[in-house]
Amino acid sequence: MTLRLRDDGAPTPRRDTGAEAISRAEARALMHAALDGEIPHDAPLLRRVLRSDASLRAEYQALRSIDQALKIPPRTPDITERVLAALPEVPSRHAWIGPAVGGLAASIAVGAIGTLVLLGLRPAPVSHGLEGGAPIALASSASTIEPMLAAPWVQEFPEQAAWYPGGAVTTAAASSGSAPGSDAAASPGGVSESPARSVTPSRVFVADASGVDGAAARPTDRGAMPSFQVARAGGVVHNPGPSRTPVAMAANDPMLGMLGGTGANIASGTTQRRDSVRFVVTGWYDSEGLLVPMSGREGGRRAQGAATGSRAIGETRR
């Protein structure tokens, strides 16, 4: 069957004395249908249309070439770092601590000490909006901690008790080098004599330490903070206790806080050395070892922080 193109756009009978008549408008509609992917580019009718008219053929080829040319992406710069830098302004970025800590949590979950020593932790950014930590005594006795302890979303890591206390972790950290800002390995005595030996920490949190320059509390403060234990991520697992030189903690070091142990876990420095410590819990690890920021949807709804709405564990002053 031959194909005859008409110059006008008026509708005509499809068949005209044996030849198929098609207007230019109809021909273009066919072309665009092919370009839209509604019919194949080699559809018989389209092929006949293009074969019969050189200008339409050129037009169609041009449109296809434009389609190809449009797939050439503009040269755009990589702005990943720029976007990441802007993210701390976002509330949900409170706990952007990074995969290393996530890995640590996973290690905790399986009790894989060997993995722990390989982890390099990077400092967590300042926890935005959580600067106002409540005093420890207040936090421990008020509604901040209790809901955390009771919260069903808190992941328990019972295996941790098997390896956490004592010098194993400290030894591992010392042998592998400490994370930036970590000086536990150099700390005399380490944690081998830590009262944490008998602890059974059951919940793992991630915390930013803000404005921290030392350990958490004196032994006498344990009663006020009976079940909070601080583990410095990166190998400094525990501060050394009242008879030891306190481990200096740099501001904003990522921390792991464990709730639910015995009352002896909030080991301390000395009264001469410590004056202000504040811990801000910003998230926890779920069963997949994934970090869940408490500032996010779940945290905001479920943390049920103190009346202030803060998720702070607290602050102590001497």
């Binding site: 839209d36 040319a69 710069p77 949900s92 910003t282």
Partner: protein
């Protein structure tokens, strides 16, 4: 990136995993930037809008419906950011952005035969095509431009474009068809210093730079 893989990244990012967020940014930033750049013709605006879109997306993960693609959601946010920017700052509107392209200069002053001799190898063809297309895109209506970019550059199906732009599919097709035709016409006329040459005997258009002497005589 597989959809399952992306879904996992989204879940992790929603939980504050910075590595997952970074992976999502690396995966999608070029696409969003390209999209916005094609709409506005300005790299600086495209970068700003892209950054803002990511910040909003990652901050609002709780609003993300995992039955959709993250990229679709991200593009929707980027589009909203861009439109808001246009409303706030008319200087960023497409019309003003066109200025930098010197659109229309030298139109009709040269013929295909005049510039055939200036044809260059494929790599330069890419650059010429890219520049010419962007200039020509800026001559389209906003709707035509966006449908063209989403369909041809981003490979979005018409149905999705219709949802994204809140238009009936038929209207999207209409914009697409008219936009294509106009794009071709503008390219053949010449955009800036580049002209498209059509020849029914070749796979065309071929893009060529208008010789300097002709450009100077405009």
């Amino acid at each position: 990136m597989l959809r399952e893989e992306e879904a996992m990244l989204v879940r992790r990012a929603a939980r504050g995993d910075s590595a997952a967020a970074e992976a999502l940014i690396r995966r999608h930033q070029a696409g969003v930037q390209s999209y916005i750049y094609r709409l506005c013709g300005r790299f600086d605006v495209a970068q700003d809008v892209t950054q803002e879109a990511f910040v909003r997306a990652l901050a609002g993960m709780r609003n993300f419906d995992p039955t959709f693609r993250f990229s679709t959601w991200l593009f929707t946010i980027a589009r909203r950011v861009w439109l808001n920017l246009c409303e706030k700052k008319k200087a960023c509107s497409a019309g003003d952005a066109c200025d930098s392209w010197e659109v229309g200069a030298g139109r009709g002053t040269s013929t295909s035969s005049d510039v055939l001799a200036t044809l260059r190898p494929d790599d330069e063809q890419r650059d010429l095509a890219r520049d010419a297309l962007q200039g020509a895109l800026m001559l389209l209506s906003e709707e035509q431009r966006e449908t063209i970019v989403l369909f041809h550059q981003m490979d979005w199906p018409i149905r999705l474009i219709a949802e994204h732009m809140d238009l009936p599919e038929g209207t999207v097709k209409s914009h697409l068809h008219r936009g294509r035709q106009r794009l071709r016409e503008e390219l053949v006329r010449g955009v800036g210093e580049v002209v498209a040459i059509e020849d029914s005997g070749r796979t065309l258009p071929t893009f060529a730079r208008i010789p300097a002497r002709q450009g100077a005589s405009r």
